[in-house]
């Protein structure tokens, strides 16, 4: 009994006088039970770190850096994706007339990183670090992740929509399933 206890590294043995029980050393607890209680600090709901910018290369590099920083800080990052860009057309009109002087085509690119279970103790530091590395021309915003943010990622199937609208015109489906 003593040899076994010594081999497994137990420091406390059952003692009739003090009635201390055997304590399990850390390595005998299975890995899925170690963090089963969850974080002991209040956490935020799923957050969306949204980066918008006009310069594609700068934005992409910054997005990668933010993702890596979050992973290095042991933050649970669910996903990082690129939202399709918004294409803007800006026309400079000659003053006084409506004749176009110059025309600019600008694209607003976007990168999103979804962060889960950000503890309230780490959140302040994380935001400060990200802000410290913010490059020129990039807009950073941290919001709660909504259903709309996931739905925007899907490209709408126009053919399917067309067929469905045709079916509605004809009077709805013949079989109600």
């Amino acid at each position: 009994m003593n040899r076994l206890a010594h081999e497994s590294g137990n420091t406390n043995q059952r003692n009739l006088v003090t009635a201390q029980t055997i304590r399990y050393p850390m390595r005998n607890i299975p890995f899925y039970a170690l963090n089963a209680a969850g974080p002991q600090v209040p956490t935020y709901p799923p957050l969306n770190v949204s980066l918008k910018g006009y310069d594609f290369t700068v934005l992409e590099h910054y997005g990668k850096w933010v993702h890596n920083t979050a992973l290095n800080m042991d933050i649970d990052v669910e996903d990082g994706w690129a939202t399709p860009c918004k294409k803007l057309k800006i026309q400079n009109l000659r003053p006084g007339t409506s004749k176009m002087e110059t025309e600019y085509m600008l694209n607003v690119y976007e990168r999103n990183i979804k962060v889960l279970d950000l503890t309230s103790t780490l959140a302040g530091t994380f935001i400060e670090v990200i802000q410290a590395g913010l490059p020129e021309g990039v807009e950073l915003s941290l919001r709660e992740h909504t259903q709309l943010d996931t739905e925007i990622r899907y490209i709408p199937d126009l053919e399917l929509k067309d067929l469905k609208s045709q079916l509605e015109e004809l009077g709805g489906p013949s079989k109600k399933c």
């Binding site: 309230s120 103790t121 959140a123 530091t125 410290a132 020129e136």
Partner: protein
């Protein structure tokens, strides 16, 4: 006989008094040694993040130029370059006189070369503002408009006890409020209600401990423990009115902090500041 007894009683009372005074003094020393009561203070590091990006080093400039040259070599032709080539071909055909293949609508539109010239003219007419403002030139440390490429931190000359010291704005914690509320109150009292601050976390980011001088120590607290919070200034353009406790203020970059603050204090502050280089 009577005198002797009086003398002995006097001696006895003297001895008793001496002993009681010793006891009293021992008790006094005991309380002084055990009064390790520390006053809790909350301090705010009010920061203004950089407004403009710093220019590239010669090394960074060289590398970025090399990368863009490589990208240019490896890239396909852009729409602009294709248009330029078509313009040249069209000009050749018009010179020869062969107008069958030429699309005459395209001839009247702006050619690629004209477009480039117009764009260059517009760039020349546009003037960039410089990143060093008048305040940088004049060396005024109390204005928020200085050092646009660096992040600034507010340091004030505050009255602590008898003397004035250069510290981050600090104030005492009152029981019943959280440390974050203390910090928000400190900012409101010392910098006026015009300054709006965004404190991101409820937990402090730094700590500093110092002992009071011996004269003040007997009042109960033997020293103070300062907990630092990071706050970002939200409205940069409003007028700030500082309280009477503060005789001077300065917005300093991280390098200049060492010259103003005391060494040990500056070390504690440097622990939580994020470098902006």
């Amino acid at each position: 006989m009577v005198i002797k007894t009086m003398q002995t009683t006097r001696l006895i009372t003297q001895i008793l008094l001496r002993n009681s005074s010793k006891l009293n003094s021992i008790r006094y020393q005991g309380t002084a040694a055990n009064s390790s009561k520390w006053q809790i203070l909350g301090a705010v590091c009010v920061t203004r993040p950089p407004v403009v990006c710093p220019p590239m080093d010669p090394m960074e400039l060289k590398y970025s130029q090399m990368l863009s040259a490589i990208e240019q070599e490896n890239s396909y032709k852009s729409q602009h370059e294709i248009r330029h080539e078509e313009d040249l071909i069209r000009a050749e055909l018009l010179k020869i006189g062969d107008t069958d293949d030429v699309d005459l609508d395209e001839v009247t539109k702006q050619t690629a070369v004209e477009f480039v010239d117009a764009a260059n003219d517009e760039l020349k007419r546009f003037s960039f503002t410089s990143s060093t403002t008048d305040v940088d030139v004049s060396g005024d440390l109390s204005s928020l408009n200085r050092a646009l490429e660096r992040s600034l931190c507010l340091v004030v000359k505050q009255k602590l006890g008898e003397d004035h010291r250069w510290v981050l704005p600090q104030g005492a914690w009152n029981p019943g409020e959280t440390l974050r509320q203390t910090c928000e109150r400190v900012v409101k009292e010392s910098c006026g209600s015009n300054m709006r601050i965004r404190i991101l976390s409820n937990a402090p980011c730094g700590f500093y401990k110092y002992k009071y001088p011996k004269q003040i120590r007997q009042e109960g607290y033997c020293g103070a423990k300062v907990f630092f919070y990071r706050g970002q200034i939200v409205n940069k353009d409003t007028e700030l009115n500082y309280s009477s406790d503060i005789t001077d203020h300065a917005w300093l970059t991280q390098d200049e902090l060492d010259s103003r603050l005391q060494k040990s204090y500056a070390e504690s502050v440097a622990q939580f500041l994020i470098s902006d280089k």
